[in-house]
Amino acid sequence: MTARRNEAKDTMQGIPVSPGIIIGKAHLVDRSRVKILYQYLIDEKQVSGEVERFENALRITEEQLQTLKNKMPEHVKGHSFILDSHVMILKDSMLRESAVHRIEEEKINAEWALKKSFNEIRKIFAQIDDEYISNRIQDVESVSEKILRNLSGETQESLAEIKERVIIVAHDLSPADTTELNISKVMGFITDVGGQTSHTAIMAQALEIPAVVGLESATARISDGDLLIVDGSTGEVVINPDDAEIIRYQEKQLQHEKYKSSIARISHLPAETPDGYRISIKANIEFLEEVTAVRDHGAEGIGLYRTEFLYLRSKGLPTEEELFSDYREVAEIMAPEPVTIRTLDLGGDKFASHIEIANEMNPAMGLRAIRLCLKEPGLFKTQLRAILRASTFGRVQLMFPMISGLQEVLEAKEMLNTVKQELDNEGIIYDENMPVGIMIEIPSAVTISDLLTRHVDFFSIGTNDLIQYALAIDRVNEHVAFMYQPFHPAILRMIQQVVQEGKKAGIKVSLCGEMAGDPLCTPILLGLGLDELSMNARSIPLVKNIVRAISLEQARQDFELVVQLNTARDVRDYLLTRMKKMIPELGEKSFFPG
């Protein structure tokens, strides 16, 4: 059952999330849980080596458990028993001796032996009537997984140690994985799961490297070292291509680069329609290092600064000083352009190991973002203080994510006022008129957007989550990802409602989801009358170019027509035809992924 290198040519189709064509070698990262390699051992030497490898993994796991225990804060030390019991399980004869026995007698590799021993324990525990005791199998599972990870860690270099430039092939990439990546060695990403807005997609766009997600079986079909062609614009992945194919893609690559550089030359100019309407084009960023690239691409400010990155490091929560110096730097570099800082949006698929978050059935609907912040005032206040302090170093705007009702807005603003008072008492200055806005990304907020306008200075429509919540599509579930449709008539109507309410109340409305950077959407977003679009920096030159090619009047007509259509497919088809007519040189399929 050993995984064999498959040299045969193979093509796959996934969801394109970050454009560009790359040709390079695959580097497989196995982060999914159950996928393990099953191997028979050939001779005694291999057997003793395998036992040693297993014992070594146990040793490492024990050390990790000890470290975890030592790092536990004093007040929760009472729970350290769980870690002690994990160490006992690790050394338990039912697990350890039986696995070693299997390696030696059945001549199978350590992973397989461990899995077999675990399955046997599970069978025994399943027969226990006492539910509390039979549930302890979870502890055994957790320990087994830790051992497994340490076993594979030996045969696979960690992401930090990649030496040559490769294409990362993974089941999924967590924010934690991407923080340890040696970015300069990564040509692109392809993953089994994920959709337009998965973390992998956002990461790839920020880094401007091609990515294709939702391939379902990439990790099963691709072997380490396979030659790959990845077209991040069409979602095509070719495994072990022939020469003709390589040449064909190289030509495509060249064409793509050529157009990119032609629009890049004028990207610093404003986005103004031929009839004189100017829409503000801003950038979304995830970390400080992106700011210079943002300027180079012609962004007129930061429309969304995602602040989770500093919270995802492995060592503890960031201090107020660390946050402050980070926000201050972004504000200073961008000044006089504005920077909208979104408060912590953790939870869901972004997981911080040092904040205790229970395992939730529906993390996207669970304790995250503003909900988590209101429940953990200490965490929230530290960030608010840092943002307020940074506000005097540029034009800073504050934005609360995941607002579902007015109550949350009022509570968050009250917290902000408390923090302001504290700063006043300490004699620390901040921008008293710092605009405060909210993300509109939950359908309930759309419905009551008229009520919300009275309490905030601006709206920013987060279409990524809005689509997910409105259409009930789990965007990381590869089986339904195809139903994640930005052009769904319901979504267009929701955006329309928010813009109308914003206009009535005289507050600015921005859109900061992936739709903002999708060139196909540009005409209708323009026609809707949005004040601002905030997108990944690399989309800016193209979107600006489209704005320059269409009159506001025409865009309005486009929207009026599109909003009457019945299905997402109809909308898409209309826009595609429209776009090809309007900008013929954009007709190339590769600019319109999907």
């Binding site: 028993f81 006992m88 004869s93 302890r136």
Partner: protein, 97 residues
Amino acid sequence: MNSCESTREEKKVLKIDNSLGLHARAAGKIVALANQYESKLFLRKDKEEVDGSSILSILTLSCPKGTEVEAKIVGEDSEVFMESLTELFANKFGEEA
């Protein structure tokens, strides 16, 4: 393993008196104790006998409050070991003051 002569062996029936029964934390305390002695501990409930240094095996005995188990300790320091073990059971595994 065991050298010449007859090996020392202690046997005693112990009652589980804490309200939670022989759950993970209590079993863990037995294992921790067993690790301090040279002698080997076996626990028997009905016909089933398990290794007293294996937390998983102890759990599989599934002993609620009131269960009686037979402890068998084999080895040189079996006597002192049995004393501490008896005390651990009598103290309800230190859980109920």
